[in-house]
Symmetry: C2
Subunit: 475 residues, 2 copies
């Protein structure tokens, strides 16, 4: 049994373990084990991400170990990461001449090679990505999929372009790619430009995707950085222009981690377990025969026929013909978030009917077996996607409010996202952060469907010209 | 231009870089960067391996960091790895309480969890695998794909069974799975039981796959270990038997690294570059239009039609309509090992014909465009596979000899594999290793097709009863 989802923190911890996403019992803080079921889900989610990335990017793999000499080159960058880098100091019993960092992210592993790869304007744009493990020495409270010491599935893309504007076009492309990805997961999000003091170390600016978790705290699920020529100057990445001059490239990088799986689980799940969108469920359908003495054979035969039919259509379907009671089977497959349940008893077998229900609705409907067609299943999957999206948006609407008064906003912190107007000054930003004890997420570029607020207004602190910002307690 | 393959060491180094498999210029010894093309090849090869593994195993992911306390538990195991483990001693500026090892392999990461996962006989067999990066502090000469400090693509499987015999059945299953894998790559191999003094640290026995490289040195490309209950006793992995007793599990583990890609490249390649089997080539076919002034349009239109047709069949095909001369294009795509080349000039376009040639044969044949069908391409791929297999076997035959005389065998070392008879004593094994200055690979279980020798005979050292063994200089 799970704790109720209203007790989100405990619910999350338990659902991760009971639904066999990750085993939290590994003997090092902040490190977890992907169970087979969890890893299947992970592969399906990342398969979609890969599909989107493969359109414009080449997949590569760069080493996990970065020499101290390279990691330290870009001043802002190393300042941002130095407290959380794992250092390898010894190989066997030998002390290493140059300490090696376990990559916290791969700018400084990749860009010395970009210098070698890029010669002329014809080599641009360069767009690569990799899906790798990265490491952070987290001293805060760790949590599976959300705050880890080994991020096992970091998709990081890195690009180089001829100038600032072309890099900015790529930022837009990346934002659109991420929107497509999260839309396919039915995860709603804010697109937010991070404030100057919270951008990626070494970036010109950072655009983030934030979703809202059931407890009202936000979760950053993706970031896109415009690096301008900051790293190019550090790593001396130049190209020959069509005119024969030499110019620094402008770069972008953008990443998504297994937090996308955390969001998927947290936003769609309910008191009884996971609810997985059809396209990402490791088991998309479960056939459950309801057995009565003397009628087992007919029911099992018909169940098997339905299973075969589903598989032929290309559905990841399973048959649960175990000895457990039907109730126990329902419970089990609801916990694992199987989108489509098909029950078959003696009466159904006789009439060539089945009882279908969807994980999110939990309403039974009897239909003729012949009605199960590829077209029908596509429609079912689409309908379920729409329902999940609507439900997720409804939940977000409850957790987002607009404020003109800082005192009221302070009350709201911990319950959800506050929107308000803020001028561009660091002073006003810091002042409001202090007052409400939460972090400014930045200027809102795009809101989830149904959320409305004026893009411009008076700064909540100084009353000057302000723009729409968001603030919240964050994971 | 590549050095001739007869100069294997230089050829290998150059082909890896020029054919864009790995970039060897990363600024740390023994660490390399997978280029986009190389990584596509890697993904195709590992896709096949995954397919084979997925039949009997679940994919999982265990952490890359192993606490010193776990890594050190199994005495033989840690003795085997202690000289080559990378140690993380610091997180940020903090010294860690317990040093963390970067996994050299994952027995000691997995088995503490197996203890928690396995309760009863119904949980057995347990079979999982993962494809991960592992790390070895190599002090010897490093080489891309062959001897690395970060093995980027280690497929390691780990299983648990009720008793020694069932684990042994699994060893056989694993050996068969690996045979299927290497057969599909047309890589010939010996299956060899490693001598007692060269088995995996902590294993009961080790079975290895060794192939023969063009310079006559062997390359270990896969290993299968029977662990008996050695690790189970160390990590206290017990299960409840049907009778209600508690017994230790018996385990196996088996691994394949990116050496399989090294073997693929080395065994099939020739003086002009890669030769890739059809199913693993990132580009399976290249269409090259031969352009003459005034006839460009017709040729390009027909080339495009052929490209579309190939893609419809499901072939990874490209069109090279760049401005380079045909000779330069041939050279380029031969370097990259494209199996099927299709040339189209004005005469061909007119007659709806094409000139096809295969990378391994380099013989041109004119055929009607209509002859390009899915069935035909399947047959071409099969035929090419058979030719590559035969060529690889022919090369191995030249590099394997049987010896009854240790002096002659000494002469042969560095040129190929020597087969000979050896008794089971460590003394005779060490004596012959010293005399010929090479390592005994162990008792031959299976030889490549066409290699023959008696399984039993007189020990080359003591003259007692011996069994067929192999010895060679190895990578």
């Amino acid at each position: 049994m799970l704790p109720p989802k209203s007790n989100f923190s405990e619910w999350y911890h338990e659902v991760i373990q009971q639904a066999e996403i990750m085993d939290v019992r590994y003997p090092v803080k902040g490190l977890y084990v992907w169970f087979p079921f969890g890893y299947k889900l992970r592969n399906l989610v990342y398969g979609r991400l890969r599909e989107i990335m493969d359109r414009e990017h080449d997949e590569v793999y760069f080493p996990a170990l970065i020499p101290e000499t390279e990691l330290g080159k870009e001043g802002q960058h190393i300042k941002g990461f130095e407290d959380e880098v794992y250092w390898i100091t010894h190989g066997g019993i030998d002390r290493l001449d140059v300490k090696l960092a376990l990559r916290p992210t791969s700018e400084t592993a990749m860009y010395p090679m970009f210098k070698l790869w890029i010669r002329s304007h014809a080599d641009l744009p360069l767009r690569v990505y990799q899906i790798v493990n990265v490491f952070r020495y987290e001293t805060k409270h760790t949590r599976p999929l959300i705050r880890l010491r080994e991020i096992t599935s970091f998709k990081e893309a890195h690009t180089a372009h001829r100038n600032y504007e072309e890099a900015e076009e790529n930022v837009k492309m990346a934002v659109n790619a991420y929107k497509e990805f999260f839309d396919s997961l039915a995860i709603p999000y804010f697109v937010i430009k991070r404030p100057e003091w919270d951008k990626f170390p070494g970036a010109d600016y950072t655009i983030a995707f934030d979703t809202v978790m059931p407890d009202g705290r936000t979760l950053q699920i993706g970031t896109v950085h415009h690096l301008a020529d900051n790293f190019a100057k550090t790593f001396d990445i130049k190209y020959e222009t069509p005119e024969g001059d030499h110019a620094y490239v402008h770069q972008t990088c953008y990443g998504i981690s297994e937090r996308c799986v955390a969001a998927l689980i947290s936003i769609h799940g309910d008191d009884v377990g996971l609810i997985l969108p059809f396209h990402f469920a490791p088991h998309q359908a479960v056939v459950i025969p309801i057995l009565y003495k003397g009628k087992e054979e007919q029911v099992l035969k018909f169940s098997d026929e339905i299973l075969k039919k589903l598989k032929e259509i290309g559905i990841r379907a399973i048959l649960d013909d175990s000895d457990e009671r039907p109730g126990a089977k329902y419970y089990r497959w609801e916990l694992f978030g199987v989108p489509l349940r098909i029950e078959i008893g003696p009466r159904e077998a006789e009439g060539r009917e089945v009882v279908v229900s969807f994980r999110d609705e939990r309403v039974k409907r009897k239909i003729q077996a012949d009605e199960i067609t590829e077209e029908k299943i596509v429609k079912w999957a689409d309908d379920m996607h729409d329902r999940l999206k609507k439900r997720a948006l409804d939940l977000i609407l409850e957790k987002v409010r607009f404020f003109e008064n800082a005192g009221e906003m302070e009350e709201w912190m911990g319950k959800g996202v506050a929107m308000f107007h803020l001028c561009n000054s660091i002073e006003c930003g810091e002042s409001i952060e202090e007052q409400v004890r939460a972090g400014v997420l930045g200027e809102i570029i795009e809101m989830p469907e149904g959320v409305h607020a004026d893009k411009e207004g008076k700064c909540i602190v100084c009353g000057g010209d302000g723009r729409l910002n968001a603030i919240a307690k964050s994971y």
